[in-house]
């Protein structure tokens, strides 16, 4: 097994690690950095639960190798809140019951993090389109869409 040294930033913190070249980024985050908030639901890029932000883009960490993140700046669900203050998207999911079992939630939050940055005042159809790559089996998506709308409003109100 071949290994390689990588250096990357996760949630504002620098890490240097040696990883097997075949290790996925999701496994690296969960096992090596113990950031278990990033979840795996299918391990082949379908369910979206493992979505994180890499250099400003929402990506599926199960479809990337850790070595591909060498030099990258990552944001995971653990880095979304600022101290004790929840990010407006997190707050909206909590208030609007946008989750039940919560397993898919980190993926939805990270997808929306990029989407709402690029599209601050989306229509419902645009929200549904943006979230079509994330599966949730509990909510019927209704409150997720509602939370996304509320998050857009909160973000607009706070100027973020």
């Amino acid at each position: 097994m071949s290994e390689r040294a990588i250096r990357l930033k996760v949630n504002g913190r620098e890490y240097q690690r040696t990883v097997e070249v075949r290790k996925t980024l999701a496994d690296f985050l969960r096992e090596d950095l113990e950031l278990t908030g990033t979840h795996l639901g299918c391990e082949h890029g379908v369910c979206g639960a493992c979505t994180i932000v890499m250099d400003g883009e929402a990506v599926r960490s199960c479809l990337l190798f850790a070595v591909q993140a060498d030099g990258a700046d990552l944001l995971t669900v653990e880095g979304l809140a600022e101290g004790e203050a929840l990010h407006p998207i997190q707050e909206a999911f909590w208030e609007h019951h946008g989750l039940q079992c919560g397993f898919c939630t980190p993926g939805f939050l990270m997808t929306l993090y990029c989407f709402l940055r690029d599209r601050p005042r989306p229509s419902e159809a645009e929200i549904r389109e943006a979230l079509a790559g994330n599966l949730c089996r509990c909510t019927g998506y209704q409150n997720i869409v509602l939370a996304a709308k509320a998050a857009a409003e909160k973000l607009a109100a706070t100027g973020r």
Binding site: H97, G102, R137
Partner: protein, 807 residues
């Protein structure tokens, strides 16, 4: 503490119950802090993988593990021989599973060996080095094959060579009812099986301590039954086994059985002296299965001209897969609840479950009842059309009487179905739309009922089905302990809300400690929609005992009568002079000084109200929930695609303890029903699962899920805590037939087979174009040697006997 003596308080007096409050566990879930089973990392933890059979049916001749053992990094390799020769299964009558198969494999995916290694990859590679010599046996892959095959047997027990269970019951004389009918109709339906597809793949971690005690963390809906199974299979005293259910990342019934991997990690932890984790892959989740049974159904109903049902005869054949699982209960459930929605004065049920060489089926949301509900609601739609009646109105006139008994001796308490029907008919514009929309557009109606918790436990005994302990500390902190497990449905929030309401504090003031067999009283598990009602009643009892002590102690201090005090807003005070009082914490200190440590227990056992015949154990419940649904769809005649446009659903779940959470359960049920109605299917080719991946097993996304209009119809049921019934299962049931009936309204094609795929719609349209009967579905019902029915007098129309209360 019977329900009649303490009627629920008026809504306006309640501070927490009935409020739209966020889930108490949402915070950990939005920051990524909630630890699901696969998130657990223990020092020196090893990783396990299972070797699974690649034959659907084969005898195991030899297993050679030597090459796997020699691989560096491998800590232990085990086969079935490394376990005591003890079989297990969720039901006492179907103890037919082994931790690892010893003599035979019965489906592709059956586990035969397991490896613990320093990491998951090494464990996986080692499983590939295990050599298993198989003698292939003829696979049995369908209901027809199972009924026809007399020599080759999958299991060595049951009611026939490959028949697991045969049931035959008759309540009243159905032939007499058919003679009184103006119209008799017979129909055939088929409902394909489907997987629960929980987002979280099953995972378990075991730790074996040097004192011989085992701890298992697992993503399970039923820690109590996993506890029993571990003790049985590993031949340990139950007192040496601790099972902790971790927050479950979606269950829907799929994590309600004890599983191989849970037993395997326990044994491997014992052998290696290290904690061992096993997380199933998505493919393995499809093998572990226990999902919706494929069911072939025949129904015959006799009605008078106005649509009044005189008699119904229902037959079902369930394709059970290779093991028993919950199958006996599933079989009864395909017949038990037919009488609970509409008045059915005479009823006959014949059920059969066969074994096939496929992953075992079990309970999925609605357990055994969505299939017959689909059949009956489409069947009634056809009857209404034949009689020229409005299908919603015809059903409305036949809704069961509240506080009455059904033909098969089930006791109905509250029933808000009439109002549910009125509300969805009104909201959807049903009367203006049905048979009046342009071609390609249609509306469909259906209704349903479901149990609020099984009236009988899986293991029949005199003990409670659930218990809650509440403890108050000197700072006013409150902890509530219960064996229940939150699978997303919100049971932690229900526990906190009920205790908070009674003690006059807020849910956020309460620490809930759940699903730990060492720390919490038994709760039977998150299945059969039982937790809100049962745990809620137990929590209420425990909290009321403590409130009594707090009010007594505060009354002495204030020199008033405790009857004049209330606990509310984190205070205890005089109802008529709110300024006179004290903080909750001060009342707690006074009570502890007066009565000692403040802890109290409550427990709950459902009333025993079923019939006295064999098979009466499935169907009874403290209270039934009700739903009515209208679905509007667009059907593309070119592609056959069915697009749901809008869903109106009205739900009677008793009083909604938290409407936000109840609506969430309704919406989730509608979504899951849509997936089953239109696309989800667990299907096989030559013994192999055809699509065991999330990519190919299609489920609805945000784009296929329409706007869901939820209406809560609140009855106030005397059995439930503050009047609550269930919410998590009944709303799935009407959705599927409502879609089927809407497709018919849109294009005039009857798809009598679930899922309603574009292919089937096109086939029906093609038949229609050729002037043939536009129907797609099963053509025949195989001959089954059902036994002579157990004949029982119909109890239809008798008043409910509420004196048979819980103890």
């Amino acid at each position: 503490m019977g329900p009649v003596e303490t009627p629920p308080r008026r809504a306006e007096e309640l501070a927490v119950i009935g409020k739209r409050l966020p889930k108490v566990d949402a915070w950990g879930k939005v920051i990524g802090e909630t630890k699901y089973a696969d998130d657990l990392i223990l020092p020196r933890m090893a990783h396990a993988r299972l070797l699974r059979a690649r034959h659907p049916h084969a005898r195991i001749k030899a297993i050679d593990t030597s090459r796997a053992r020699a691989l560096p990094g491998v800590l232990a390799v085990i086969t079935g021989a490394d376990f005591p020769p003890v079989k297990f299964g969720i039901l006492p009558v179907s103890q037919d599973e082994e931790a690892l198969s010893t003599e035979k494999v019965r489906y592709v995916g059956d586990a035969v060996a397991a490896v613990a290694a320093v990491d998951e990859e090494t464990a996986e590679r080692a499983t590939e080095l295990i050599e298993v010599e198989y003698e292939p046996l003829p696979p049995i892959m369908s209901i027809e094959e199972a009924l026809a095959e007399g020599t080759v047997r999958i299991q060595e027990y049951g009611d026939g060579p490959n028949i697991h269970k045969l049931v035959s019951l008759e309540f009243g004389d159905v032939e007499e009812g058919f003679r009184e009918a103006d119209l008799i109709r017979e129909d055939l339906f088929y409902f394909e099986g489907s997987n629960h597809l929980p987002m979280e793949q099953h995972a378990a971690v075991a730790r074996w301590d040097p004192d011989g005690k085992l701890t298992l963390w697992s993503s399970t809906q039923t820690p109590h039954y996993v506890h029993r199974t571990l003790a049985k299979v590993l031949e340990l005293p139950m007192s040496h086994v601790r099972v902790i259910a971790t927050p479950v990342g979606g269950g829907f019934g799929g994590k309600s059985d004890p599983f191989s991997h849970e037993l395997v990690v326990a044994r491997l932890a014992q052998l290696t002296g290290r904690p061992v984790k096993c997380t199933l892959t998505r493919e393995e989740v499809f093998y572990a299965h226990r999902g919706r049974h494929p069911v072939l159904m025949w129904v015959k109903t006799g009605v008078t001209r106005d649509g009044t049902i005189q008699a119904m005869h229902f037959r079902s054949i369930l394709d059970g897969g290779a093991y028993g699982s919950y199958g006996v209960a599933s079989t009864f459930y395909t017949g038990a609840l037919q009488t609970v929605t509409y008045k059915v004065p005479r009823y006959k049920f014949e059920g059969c479950r066969v074994f096939t060489n496929k992953p075992p089926c079990g309970p999925k949301r609605g357990h055994g009842t969505p299939q017959p509900r689909y059949a009956i609601e489409v069947h009634l739609d056809k009857i209404a059309e034949a009689l020229g009646l409005d299908p919603a109105e015809m059903r409305r006139r036949q809704v069961v009487e509240p506080f009455s008994k059904t033909a098969n001796h089930l006791t109905i308490t509250t029933c808000g179905l009439e109002e549910c029907i009125d509300r969805v008919v009104e909201a959807s514009g049903w009367r203006e739309k049905h048979r009046r929309l342009p071609p390609g557009r249609g509306v469909g109606f259906a209704a349903s009922s479901y149990i609020t918790g099984a009236g009988l436990a899986i293991y029949w005994n005199e003990m409670p089905h659930t218990g809650v302990i509440v403890k108050i500390d000197r700072g006013g902190g409150v902890a509530a302990f219960c064996g229940s497990i939150d699978i997303g449905q919100g049971s932690d929030s229900v526990l906190a809300s009920v205790v908070a309401e009674v003690l006059g504090i807020l849910p956020e003031d309460i620490r809930v400690v759940t699903a730990d067999t060492d720390l919490t009283p038994v709760d039977l598990g998150s299945y059969s929609s039982r937790v809100t009602l049962m745990m809620g009643n137990a929590a209420k009892e425990a909290a009321e005992k403590l409130r009594g002590l707090l009010l007594d102690a505060a009354a002495k201090k204030l020199e008033v009568s405790p009857a004049g005090l209330v606990a509310r807003g984190r205070r205890v005070y005089l109802r008529d002079d709110p300024e006179r009082g004290m903080s909750f914490a001060e009342a707690a200190q006074l009570a502890e000084a007066a009565y000692g440590t403040l802890a109290a227990a409550g427990s709950y056992r459902p009333p025993r109200r079923g019939g006295k015949f064999k098979g009466a154990g499935v169907g009874p419940t403290p209270a039934y929930s009700y739903t009515a649904c209208v679905a509007e769809v667009a059907v593309d005649p070119e592609t056959g695609e069915v697009r749901p446009l809008e869903i109106w659903i009205a739900h009677d779940g008793g009083r909604a303890l938290n409407p936000l959470l109840v609506e969430g359960q309704v919406e989730g049920s509608v979504y899951m029903g849509l997936g089953e109605a239109l696309m989800e299917e667990q299907i096989f080719r030559k013994g192999l699962h055809k699509i065991p991946s999330m990519l190919e097993y299609k489920s609805p996304t945000t784009l296929e899920t329409p706007e869901i209009r939820t209406i809560l119809v609140e009855t106030n049921d005397p059995e439930g805590p503050f009047g609550a019934k269930e919410a998590g299962q009944v709303p799935l049931l009407p959705l599927i037939p409502a879609i089927a009936n809407a497709v018919y309204d849109a294009v005039g094609v009857r798809v009598d087979e679930i899922p309603i795929t574009p292919e089937k719609v096109l086939k029906g349209l093609d038949q229609k174009g050729k002037g043939q009967e536009p129907r797609v579905g099963p053509e025949r019902f195989p001959r089954v040697s059902f036994p002579e029915p157990i004949r029982v007098e119909s109890a239809f129309g008798q008043p409910a006997d509420l004196s048979l209360k819980r103890e």
